[in-house]
């Protein structure tokens, strides 16, 4: 679809960036000590920290990806909302208080608190860098993909713009400014999505029976330009564009429109309606890329149950491996949240365990409420008649445009602020791992706080530049694939160590280091040998894949526990024997 440059969207985004940067420079004076830079002095109020958790966690994948997936396939996108939120239960009930009690700046501190082990510092820092990098790539790809339709800049400009702004935020005031950026973003996201859902329910659902007659749409991409539905793409005479999609073709009782609906009435009405959904297939014909978009009328009751999307289609089949793939992903989402380094470092910005607990509860409230909203945003987009058939990530902003251009501008600007908040957190986590875990504690390169902060800033710049480069290289990569990847690696590498350190007294430093290493290597290897990688990375036949299902968590998370227990038992005997000899 053709997008017009919106001055409103640009100005609102520029205003957000100006506020955020101004705040960073203002706060920069307050973050010169290591505790200030890496942990915002440990003095952030629990409520602010709770909303900042939402700002840290709700990435572009959550906001744009889930809305798009629900708008395209229905219930399946909501499965991500459920899994992403459930992970916070692990964070609150198992991880939050001990990680606050045992650590200073990074989760490696907590893992290493009993041992003072070089192996733990090294493996935990590597794990932080690997997980944060995998999480950074989809954020940068998201920024580049969205800037063109939203603000009219090129893909590369989007990636560089986000990278530069975030580097400035982190370098000026570290965790202090990162916290406030995330607080502002979390608040804006929840407030404006609530307004949007209010407007959706107030409008109700409007039927478009004529949409049922829509035929196949085509997009031909040649070097000379794009041809849509047999006309050159454009707004001039003789030119054309793809038609917007997302229609209800029949409402219960064959009424034309419902009028304002309550939340449950909205869901039950849609369940009894018929909607027009689109699938796409891209082929190469004589060196020219041709994409065909095919409409299909689907019953609402089918849209509102799991298994309608290609990702989760296995649920409806009688294939055990496909079902295990679904369970494995849901397990990774459940276990991954409390293992993400950029989430864990937020526990060091509050003053004590009670504040850590309270801020997690606020975070769960804000994030849970937002995920309930995603269901209505996605279904609202599905029935808005304004979707871009080529890009389901645009579902939420385009839905906003059906109400007003100003709302479109605000939602577009918030989408970008979303990327800024999450990327700042990720770069902070990576900078902490390099400066605190590696340079200070492991290699002893610096022994004073100024040096530690300086290394933190250097690391932030380097990681920021690497993130920009990876964002440009991974341009055509599937964003949700990479986010799922990051959750799987985080859960496999970090969760066994965090849990066993807290609940099993025989855990040894060698056991923790072995479990982290096994988790990273096994989950990455599994993903690279999976059907999804065969299809998306190598473009081979996914049926020939070595491993039976794509999501590794179901195998590699338990494997981490097994390795930790086995290595701890082997090494604890040695420790006991050594101690016995010394006593004798």
């Amino acid at each position: 679809m053709i997008y017009q440059f919106s001055w409103n969207a640009f100005l609102i985004f520029a205003f957000f960036v100006a506020v955020v940067l101004g705040l960073s420079f203002y706060l920069g004076r307050k973050a010169r000590s290591a505790k200030g830079f890496f942990a915002a002095h440990g003095q952030v109020h629990w409520f602010v920290n709770g909303i900042a958790f939402a700002g840290d966690y709700l990435s572009a994948a959550s906001f744009l990806g889930i809305c798009g997936m629900i708008a395209w396939y229905g219930y399946d996108g909501f499965l991500y909302s459920i899994g992403y939120l459930a992970g916070w239960i692990v964070a609150l009930f198992v991880i939050a208080e001990p990680i606050k009690r045992l650590g200073r700046f990074t989760f490696a501190d907590a893992l290493d608190s009993k041992f003072n082990s070089r192996a733990i510092k090294l493996t935990a820092a590597i794990s932080t860098l690997v997980v944060s990098t995998f999480y950074l790539i989809p954020q940068m790809v998201g920024a580049g993909t969205l800037i063109q339709p939203l603000l009219g800049f090129s893909y590369t400009t989007g990636v560089i713009l986000v990278g530069v702004v975030v580097i400035i935020i982190v370098v000026t005031a570290g965790m202090v400014s990162t916290t406030w950026v995330q607080f502002i973003k979390g608040s804006l996201l929840v407030i404006f999505c609530t307004i949007l859902v209010g407007l959706i329910l107030n409008r109700g659902i409007i039927a478009h029976p004529e949409a049922a007659t829509m035929g196949i749409q085509t997009l031909v991409e040649a070097q000379g330009g794009k041809v849509t539905n047999d006309h050159p793409q454009g707004r001039g005479p003789g030119q054309g564009d793809l038609s917007p999609v997302g229609h209800v073709v029949r409402l219960p009782g064959d009424v034309k429109e419902t009028g304002p609906l309550g939340p449950f009435k909205f869901l039950s009405t849609l369940q009894k309606s018929d909607v027009l959904l689109w699938s796409s297939k891209k082929t190469l014909e004589n060196g020219v890329s041709v994409t065909r978009f095919t409409p299909k009328v689907v019953k609402g009751e089918e849209v509102m149950t799991p298994g309608a999307s290609p990702t989760f289609a296995g649920i409806r089949k009688d294939n055990l491996w496909a079902k295990l793939d679904f369970i494995s992903l849901m397990l990774a989402l459940f276990c991954g949240t409390a293992s993400l380094p950029h989430i864990l470092i937020r526990y060091y910005t509050v003053k004590d365990q009670a504040a850590a607990r309270k801020s997690t509860v606020v975070g769960i409230g804000a994030i849970g409420f937002f995920y309930v909203l995603t269901l209505f945003l996605g279904l609202g987009a599905m029935t808005s008649g304004a979707m871009d058939v080529t890009n389901n990530n645009m579902a939420a902003p385009l839905l906003a445009r059906t109400f007003s251009q100003t709302l479109f501008a605000i939602i577009s600007a918030i989408a970008f602020t979303t990327v800024l908040g999450t990327v700042s957190g990720l770069i902070m986590a990576a900078a902490g791992a390099v400066a605190h875990d590696l340079m200070t504690n492991l290699f002893k390169v610096t022994d004073h706080e100024h040096g530690q902060v300086m290394w933190g800033k250097i690391a932030a710049v380097v990681v920021g530049i690497v993130a920009m480069a990876l964002g440009i290289v991974f341009r055509d990569f599937n964003v949700s694939f990479l986010v799922g990847w990051a959750f799987n690696v985080a859960a496999s590498a970090n969760l066994p160590s965090l849990v066993m350190l807290l609940f099993w007294k025989k855990t040894t430093s060698a056991g923790i280091a072995a479990a982290i290493t096994t988790g990273i290597v096994s989950s990455l290897a599994w993903i690279l040998m999976s059907g999804q990688a065969y299809k998306d990375i190598y473009h081979w036949d996914p049926a020939a894949a070595i491993v039976p299902f794509s999501q590794p968590g179901l195998v590699t998370i338990p494997l981490g526990f097994v390795v930790l227990i086995a290595v701890s038992l082997m090494t604890s005997r040695k420790v006991v024997e050594r101690e016995a000899i010394m006593v004798a």
Binding site: F78, L85, A86, V90, V94, P98, L102, S113, Q353, V361
Partner: protein, 97 residues
């Protein structure tokens, strides 16, 4: 005023906090955690192995898949709130409980 000398980094292992764990809180947390695991596992099992049950509409015209999904999100909020209310504040080490 001359600049302050750089602060040395505390020797490891630095006690990050003087607080001690509150065992009652940990026990309560684990109980609520187990309760949520049962709810979550039930959801995964139904979605994977009994999709026909998920498609049923028990009440309100909304199917079980939607009700269970929303229920998981809302119950997480309720359990979190319950935990925050029932938890005791941790004491400082050496202080009185």
């Amino acid at each position: 005023m001359p600049p302050l000398p750089p602060l040395p980094i505390p020797a490891h292992p630095a006690p990050p906090t003087t607080e001690i764990a509150e065992p009652g809180n940990a026990r309560l947390g684990l109980r609520l955690f187990l309760l949520y695991i049962i709810l979550y596992a039930g959801f995964m099992a139904l979605a994977a192995f009994a999709p026909q049950i998920m498609a049923k509409t028990p009440f309100g015209g909304v199917n079980l898949a939607i009700l269970y999904g929303l229920g998981l999100i809302i119950s997480a909020g309720i359990l979190a709130l319950l935990y925050a209310i029932l938890c005791k504040t941790e004491s400082k080490s050496g202080g009185e409980k």
